[in-house]
C-alpha cells in the first residue's frame, strides 16, 4: 500500500469549491482524504506543502508531441516529462504527426508510449478525417475504443462544411468532443503573421482575423444545428471570443481555449522577423489580446491550453515566411498564466485552476480535474510567488523555440504527482 500525505498546503479545488489550508492523503494512486491535521501510519511519504498551493493536476488539452515522425523535435516521452515539469499531470496529444493518428493502432501506440513515459498521462487525440485530408471521416468509434479522447484535424481546418457537419453529428454517438483549428485557408493563404500595420511594415503577407472568424461562425452554427460537442482551439480574435460568448448563452455546446501566448503577446513580438514568435493562429493586435484575456476572465474561453509546438532550432533558423509555426509552451504556461492573469488580478487563483484543470477535464471527459476522494491522485504543487527567469536551456522538452526566453515571471509548479507518484520536483528545492 502506497501512501502520500501532503500537509499544510493551500488546497485550491474549484470542483469542490475549496480554497483553504488542508492536508491531503493519497492512497494507492487515489485521493483518499482531505482534512485538517490528517494522520497517517508509519511509512507514509510526507510532503510539506506549507506556503504552496495544492491543486488538482493541471491538464493541457492541446500539445504536439511530434511522435511518430518528428522525434528530433519531441518524443512522447520527452513531451510527457516536459509536461510534468510544467505542472501538468495529463496532456492530450494532437494527431497531426507523420503519419497522422487516424487509426486505432496509431492511437494505441501513443497511449502505450505515454504510459511508459514516466511523466504526465498522455491521452491521444484521433483525427477527424482520414489522413487529415478533410474528406472522409475517421473511424471515431474505433479511435475512441483505442483510447482517443477527442478527434481533431489540428494544424489544419476542416474546410468542407458538409464534412464538418457530419463529424459533429457522428461524434454524438460516442459523446466525443470535436476539436477544431479554425482557419479559412482561402483567407489565410500565403500569410505568415497577423494582418495589420506590423505585417505591412515588415512586408509579410497578413492573415486577417476574418480567416478565423468565419470558421468559428460556421462551426458554431453547425454545433447548434447538430447538437454536437464543439471544442474551439486557440482562439485569437476579439470577434471569435464574442461569437463564442453569444453562442454559449443560447445553449450551444461549445468549449474553447486560450493560449498563454495569445493572452500575453501581440504581433509586435515579431519585431525584426523573430521566428520564435511565429505561430498559427498568429499573434494578433492588442485589442484581440485583451479580448482573449477578458474571455478567460469571464469563462467564455473556459480552458487554458498551450498548443505546445516544438520545433528544432534549425527549422526556426530561417527567413520568417519559411519558418514553421509554433512555440513550446508546457514549461512556461504556469509562470505566464500566473504573471499575466493572477498577479495582475484579472482572475483569482481558483479561477486559474478551474481553467487549467477542472474545465479541461470536463471538456474532454477526462479523469482528474478534482481532488474529490476516489479521484486519481494527480496533484500539482505551485509556489505562487516564486520569481524565476524563463531559460530554454533548462527545458525538458527537446525543443527550445520560445519567444519568452529571458522573461521574468512569478509563480511556478514545484512538484507534480501522477497517480500519487512524484514525477517531477523543481531541482532547487
Amino acid at each position: 500500500m502506497s501512501r502520500v500525505l501532503i500537509t499544510g498546503g493551500r488546497v485550491v479545488d474549484p470542483s469542490q469549491g475549496l480554497d483553504q489550508v488542508l492536508d491531503l492523503l493519497l492512497v494507492d494512486g487515489q485521493v483518499a482524504e482531505l482534512g485538517e491535521n490528517l494522520t497517517a501510519p508509519e511509512g507514509t511519504e510526507r510532503i510539506d506543502a506549507r506556503g504552496l498551493v495544492v491543486t488538482p493536476g493541471l491538464i493541457d488539452v492541446h500539445v504536439h508531441l511530434r511522435e511518430p515522425g518528428g522525434e528530433h523535435k519531441e518524443t512522447i516521452r520527452s513531451g510527457a516529462r516536459a509536461a510534468a515539469a510544467g505542472g501538468f499531470t495529463a496532456v492530450v496529444a494532437m494527431p497531426n504527426t507523420s503519419p497522422p493518428i487516424d487509426n486505432p493502432a496509431a492511437v494505441g501506440f501513443v497511449r502505450a508510449a505515454g504510459m511508459r513515459s514516466g511523466g504526465a498521462r498522455v491521452y491521444p487525440a484521433g483525427t477527424i478525417t482520414v489522413g487529415q485530408k478533410g474528406e472522409q471521416l475517421a473511424e471515431f468509434g474505433e479511435l475512441q475504443e483505442a483510447g482517443a479522447v477527442t478527434v481533431t484535424d489540428d494544424g489544419r481546418p476542416v474546410m468542407n462544411a458538409g464534412v464538418m457537419r457530419l463529424a459533429l453529428e457522428y461524434a454524438l454517438s460516442f459523446d466525443l468532443p470535436v476539436s477544431v483549428h479554425e482557419e479559412d485557408l482561402n483567407l489565410s493563404y500565403g500569410g505568415s503573421m497577423n494582418e495589420g500595420i506590423i505585417a505591412t511594415r515588415l512586408g509579410l503577407t497578413g492573415i486577417p482575423n476574418a480567416a478565423e472568424d468565419v470558421m468559428i461562425a460556421r462551426d458554431l452554427f453547425l454545433a447548434e444545428l447538430t447538437g454536437g460537442r464543439l471544442h474551439i482551439q486557440h482562439v485569437s480574435t476579439r470577434e471569435g471570443v464574442r461569437m463564442i460568448r453569444e453562442a454559449r448563452a443560447r445553449g450551444v455546446r461549445v468549449t474553447a481555449e486560450a493560449t498563454p501566448h495569445h493572452f500575453t503577446l501581440t504581433d509586435e513580438a515579431i519585431e525584426s522577423y523573430r521566428t520564435n514568435a511565429k505561430m498559427n493562429p498568429p499573434l494578433r493586435s492588442a485589442e484581440d489580446r485583451d479580448a482573449v484575456r477578458q474571455g478567460v476572465a469571464d469563462g467564455t474561453l473556459d480552458v487554458i491550453a498551450t498548443d505546445h509546438a516544438p520545433h528544432h532550432y534549425d527549422e526556426k533558423e530561417q527567413a520568417f515566411e519559411d519558418a514553421p509555426n509554433g512555440i513550446v509552451g508546457l514549461e512556461t504556461a504556469v509562470g505566464l498564466s500566473m504573471s499575466e492573469l493572477v498577479h495582475t488580478r484579472l482572475i483569482d487563483l481558483p479561477t486559474l485552476v478551474e481553467r487549467m484543470s477542472c474545465a479541461p477535464a470536463r471538456a474532454f471527459s477526462l479523469p482528474g480535474g478534482t481532488l474529490r476522494p476516489g479521484s486519481p491522485a494527480d496533484v500539482t504543487l505551485i509556489d505562487p510567488d516564486l520569481e524565476w527567469t524563463i531559460d530554454p536551456e533548462q527545458f525538458l522538452s527537446l525543443s527550445r523555440n520560445t519567444p519568452f526566453a529571458g522573461r521574468r515571471v512569478r509563480g511556478r509548479a514545484v512538484r507534480t504527482l501522477v497517480g500519487g507518484v512524484t514525477v517531477w520536483t523543481l531541482p532547487s528545492r
Partner: protein, 324 residues
C-alpha cells in the same frame, strides 16, 4: 555639397527604415560625384580595391544585378556572382548555409536579393561582412528608392515638400515600401494609388495618403512612380484583367494631359507597356526612366563606398585618385 553631420550607416543597408534624413541625403550627396565616373573613358576608380563582394541573387533580377556589378567594378572591387534561382535546395536552408559559407570565405561585402522578406537582415545578423539589401520579398529595396530620390532631386532640385504618388501594386512592392519610408524621412509628401486589392492593411499609418482613383492622384502629384504590375497578380485574382487595369489605373497620355502641372514619371522597370504605363508616356518628355538606370549605378557606388567606411565629403577626392 557633402554633409558634415553624416552619421555612419552602420554595418548593413537592410532598408531605409531607421535611417535619418542626414544619412539619406548623405548617400544622395555621395552619389553626385560618382555619377561623373560613368562619363569617363576609363570608368574605374580604386576606392574598393582589394575588397571582395559577392552578389548573392536568390531571385532573378538581371537589371539590379548588373547595376550593382557595374557599381562594384567601377570602384575596383573583386566581384563574384552567385545565383541560386534554380536551386532545388529549400530556400531557408540555402540562406543559412550561404551565411556560413560566406563567413568562412571572409567576404567583405554581400549584396543579397531574396524572395523572403527579412532575408537581408537575417544574413546581416549572421555574418561580419557588410550586407546590402538588393530587394527582399515584399519588404524593402533601398537602393531603388535612393535612385528614385536622386532622380527626383536632379529634376526638381529638392525633395522636401515634393508630392510623390506611387501607383500600382503597393501590396507586393518592396519598391513602394522603401520609397514611402525614404521620401517621408526627407520631407516629401507621399501618396499611394491602386486597386484596393493591392493595398496593404492600414497603409495610411505609414503616413501616406491613399487615392482610390488615379485621376485624383494625377491631380495631386508632382511625381508619379509607376510600379510594374506582375502578371501573376492577375492570375491570382487581385485584378480582373490587364485590360481593365490599364483602363482604370494605367498612366496614359490622355490622363496626363489633364494634369494641372507637368508630372515627372518614374518606373522601376521592367515595364509592361500598355498595362501600367503607355508607351507614349514611357518614351515621352516627362519620363526619366532611363536616367533612373544611370543614377542606379551612382547610388549603388555611394552605398558601397559608405559602408566600406568612406565619408561623403571625401567622395570627390576618392574618385580623383588615379585608377590602375
Amino acid at each position: 555639397m557633402a554633409q558634415a553631420l553624416f552619421p555612419p550607416l552602420g554595418k548593413d543597408l537592410v532598408g531605409l527604415e531607421g535611417l535619418t534624413r542626414e544619412q539619406i541625403i548623405g548617400i544622395l550627396d555621395t552619389a553626385e560625384p560618382f555619377k561623373e565616373i560613368s562619363e569617363r573613358p576609363i570608368k574605374k576608380v580604386p576606392v574598393l580595391r582589394g575588397k571582395t563582394i559577392v552578389n548573392a541573387f536568390f531571385e532573378n533580377s538581371t537589371r539590379t544585378r548588373i547595376s550593382f556589378e557595374f557599381a562594384e567594378k567601377r570602384l575596383s572591387a573583386d566581384t563574384v556572382n552567385f545565383s541560386a534561382g534554380g536551386s532545388s535546395v529549400a530556400k531557408g536552408e540555402t540562406l543559412v548555409d550561404t551565411a556560413r559559407n560566406l563567413e568562412a570565405m571572409r567576404i567583405d561585402m554581400v549584396v543579397i536579393r531574396h524572395s523572403s522578406s527579412g532575408a537581408a537582415r537575417f544574413l546581416g545578423e549572421r555574418i561580419a561582412s557588410n550586407v546590402v539589401n538588393a530587394g527582399d520579398g515584399k519588404h524593402e529595396h533601398p537602393t531603388q528608392a535612393l535612385l528614385d530620390m536622386l532622380t527626383i532631386r536632379d529634376h526638381l532640385g529638392r525633395l522636401e515638400g515634393v508630392k510623390v504618388c506611387i501607383v500600382g501594386d503597393i501590396l507586393h512592392s518592396r519598391v513602394a515600401r522603401s520609397n514611402i519610408i525614404g521620401l517621408r524621412t526627407v520631407g516629401a509628401e507621399v501618396a499611394v494609388c491602386g486597386p484596393a486589392t493591392l493595398m496593404p492593411a492600414r497603409i495610411e499609418e505609414l503616413g501616406v495618403t491613399v487615392f482610390r482613383r488615379v485621376e485624383e492622384a494625377i491631380e495631386w502629384a508632382d511625381v508619379l512612380n509607376v510600379l510594374r504590375l506582375q502578371l501573376e497578380r492577375m492570375q491570382a485574382g487581385f485584378v480582373p484583367s490587364l485590360r481593365e487595369y490599364n483602363r482604370v489605373f494605367g498612366i496614359t497620355e490622355e490622363r496626363l494631359a489633364r494634369a494641372p502641372r507637368q508630372l515627372l514619371i518614374l518606373h522601376p522597370g521592367p515595364m509592361n507597356r500598355g498595362v501600367e504605363i503607355d508607351s507614349a508616356v514611357a518614351d515621352g518628355p516627362h519620363s526619366v526612366i532611363l536616367q533612373q538606370v544611370t543614377n542606379g549605378v551612382a547610388v549603388r557606388m555611394a552605398v558601397l563606398y559608405l559602408l566600406a567606411g568612406g565619408k561623403p565629403e571625401a567622395a570627390e577626392a576618392a574618385k580623383t585618385e588615379v585608377a590602375l
